[in-house]
Amino acid sequence: MQFNSYSYLLLLIPATALFWALPVPWRRWYVLAMSILYYATWNAAFVAVPLALALGVHLAARLLIAQPERGRRWFWSGVALVLAIFGFFRYRLFLLANINHLLAAFGARPMSVAWQIAVPLGISFYSFEAISYLIDAKQGRIKKSRFSDLYLFIMFWPHLMAGPIVRFRELGPQLDFARPFELRMLLRGLDRLVWGLVQKNLFANPLGSWVDQGFLHNAVRNNSTVDSWALAVAFGLQIYFDFAAYSNMAIGVAQLIGIVLPENFRFPYHAQSPADFWNRWHMTLSRWIRDYLFFPVTARFRGSPGALYASLLVVMALVGLWHGAGWGFVAWGVLHGAYLVLYRVWESLGETRLAAVTKSRLAAWGWRIFTLTAVTAAWVPFRTATGADAAHMLAGMFGRFRFGFSYPMDFYLLVLLMALFCVVEPFLAESWTRAENTIAALRGGLLAHSYLLRPAIYACGLLLFLIFDDRSTQFIYFQF
């Protein structure tokens, strides 16, 4: 069941009502049961994977807490277990394909796998959460590991499939579900849910149908420079709206049962620098990488810029690989790593005589434009099927100029419209909040706002969601 499926949305209403009707001690078991059921609707067999992972991590965490002198060993055992399960499902075919490539180069016979096993949904997300649990335990933030807490933390259905990637210290304390019901909370949850539905069906999906066609092998070979840029922008917008939609729905649904999940996006295409982009895009992943990978690396290589920059590239390559088992994702990560290195070098100039230049308005605008362009270009290897296609498309965008419009005008107008929306999105969000506050401050405004204006807006959003519904589409980040 996808978040934007009719069955999910219609079952959500009684499921939420029942949640609030239950006595507080029962709620966690109810949510756990709902979460397992939700996961089973995709594939019942895969319920065993997060269960096995949680059991292994729980055991490692218990031993780690009980035997602090051997903590390091248990910690790494737990991490190795998570990575082994994650790697087995996620990367074995990728690894095999690359080994076969090498074997073929030496004229050897290729290897094959005995059976095909699909990748359990959400494994990239809950694997990272399991590792963060171990890190929190190692750092003494978890005093006692309880299996039911850990299992519920991993399985909690709103964030199970595609995040936000949560830390135990954020979610764990909320999992007693003791928060009393508030109408305001319900309305905030519905706001996010409905907005997510609109973002997915009205914004992301229409772009997706053009992107799917434009990134096909032969299309990439024949696209003009304008087409290639329009397609790269279209994909950048599609993936943003798609993933932001999912995150909004996850946050909204969690809020319906009184749980606050961290934000995942903050107008990423308004980033002022490559570093700022990662403070705005998939923020919970960035935070995970920063805290658990990048900060330890920085601390290790303090005073050695070359090693630091190299490690930054490696970290970002791993971020790319996390997204998918393919060299295109690695290339995307390395490109972002290169942008970050470039920006760090620039920042380091601020400590020299060039400080005035680096802090000028012109430089700030230059970085803004560079970030937008560079991020857009980096989507190309992320989306194309092969490295050769990516190289061809990037060459068309930056060097081998060819004029022409291969697609109907509607496509270019749609991209333009969506891009414009992205530009004004923060201002719209701000105006909406201001308008809400103004209405609420009026006499009887709060009542009218809650029971008239909001339902009317939800109905408009639901209408758009329903008329643009396309059952065959899925969330992009479900693949990761």
Binding site: S5, W20, V119, G404, A459
Partner: protein, 389 residues
């Protein structure tokens, strides 16, 4: 209790508003309002009540061709020995946009393929005519159909009339409704062969296979295992129940009115017309050209006689940006015809400007008026007779 009531009120109010919006058809109203503000021609000039006959038309317009083919098979089986003529084209063969001066429709309006089918029927000739068209039909879709028909003796035409239209070369891909044909294993093998050959038209077919398989797996993402999952079955059940709610099925019509509203905004406010003179370049053209050549080849191999016809174009709406575009396009269509020994019927300049409709206050680039359809039917019948059809 008070809290429970407040939540119920919010949900109930939302559902009431939603029902109201379904009943109100807001986009259609806004669209009508814009038409009034910009003094557009009355809505009845864009004829909604088109003639419908499942024995001579693929009535789903690409959304569910399997059902239509079932009807066609039964219909043609009752007329064994007759010559089967089929026409494939875009919305020009489906729709009527009444020309200025033409009277409002008094009943279902017929298009030129309907007139041809009538003539054949009235003459008692041993010829059957069928229209296999869809709005914005791409050449990959025409090839898709041709490959399917060539493997089905019961619905295989003897003569296939293929519409040539310059702007149509920019359309691409296979629409969702046509993917169901892939459940025929012979047809699927043919599609896979096209994909393996990796010509310019292979992408659309590969994408179609991918989409079909993903949808067949019913598990959503391709990363999960195959087979119908619990989630899929639940969703299907819910959708079936929801579709029984009166008005819920009007989602398609509301979407169409929303799209029309967007188009109106584009034309009225930005002055960007739907069709304008342009040079066609890039991937779509390469794929369309390859698909047309493949179609000729597939039909040739399976004994279907293909006749290409240049669709009429509105003299008031130039489609070619430069004389070179015009020359290159015709050179290409002629080269396909000569390579496969096909006949081209040229109706490009056959319909005078006064017999074309108007769309959003500008001359319609594609759709004929009532008289235009009649004229084209007459010309086409005569041309077919001359060519021994």
């Amino acid at each position: 209790m008070k809290r429970a009531v407040s939540s119920i009120v919010v949900v109930a109010a939302t559902l009431v508003c939603l029902s109201g919006l379904f009943a109100l058809q807001p986009f259609a109203r806004m669209s009508d309002g814009l038409d009034r503000v910009f003094s557009a021609l009355p809505a009845w000039t864009q004829v909604a009540n088109m003639f419908r006959d499942p024995t001579t038309q693929e009535v789903s317009r690409g959304d569910s061709p399997i059902d239509s083919f079932r009807t066609l098979s039964a219909s043609w089986a009752a007329h064994s020995g007759a010559v089967r003529v089929m026409l494939m084209g875009n919305s020009q063969s489906l729709m009527t946009s009444l020309a200025p001066g033409e009277s409002p429709p008094s009943g279902p309006e017929k298009t030129y393929p309907d007139h041809i089918a009538d003539r054949y029927r009235q003459a008692g000739s041993q010829k059957l005519f069928y229209r296999l068209s869809a709005g914005g039909m791409s050449y990959q879709e025409m090839l898709w159909y041709a490959m399917y028909l060539s493997g089905r003796q019961d619905i295989k035409p003897d003569v296939l009339l293929v519409q040539l239209n310059y702007q149509n070369f920019v359309n691409g891909g296979i629409r969702g409704g046509m993917l169901a044909l892939l459940s025929d294993s012979d047809f699927r093998h043919k599609v896979e062969a096209i994909v393996q050959r990796n010509g310019a038209d292979a992408d659309a077919f590969a994408e179609a296979l991918h989409t079909f398989d993903r949808f067949q797996n019913r598990s959503g993402p391709a990363t999960t295992s195959a087979g119908q999952t619990l989630g899929y079955r639940m969703e299907t059940g819910f959708r079936r129940q929801l579709d029984r709610i009166p008005g819920f099925n009007s989602r398609g019509a509301i979407k169409a009115s929303f799209v029309l509203l967007m188009t109106q905004c584009r034309v009225y406010f930005l002055h960007l017309k739907s069709a304008r003179a342009r040079t066609l370049t890039g991937s779509r053209i390469a794929a369309s050209r390859a698909a047309l050549a493949d179609l000729a080849e597939v039909c040739g191999q399976s004994g279907i006689r293909v006749i290409l016809f240049e669709a009429p174009t509105n003299p008031a709406v130039p489609l070619y940006l430069t004389p070179d575009d015009d020359r290159q396009y015709h050179e290409f269509t002629r080269s396909v015809a000569s390579r496969f020994g096909l006949k081209i019927l040229d109706f490009e300049h056959s319909i005078p400007a006064g017999e074309w409709g108007m769309s959003l206050n500008v001359p319609d680039p594609l759709h004929l008026g009532r008289e235009g359809h009649r004229r084209l039917a007459g010309l086409m019948c005569a041309a077919l007779d001359q060519n021994g059809v």
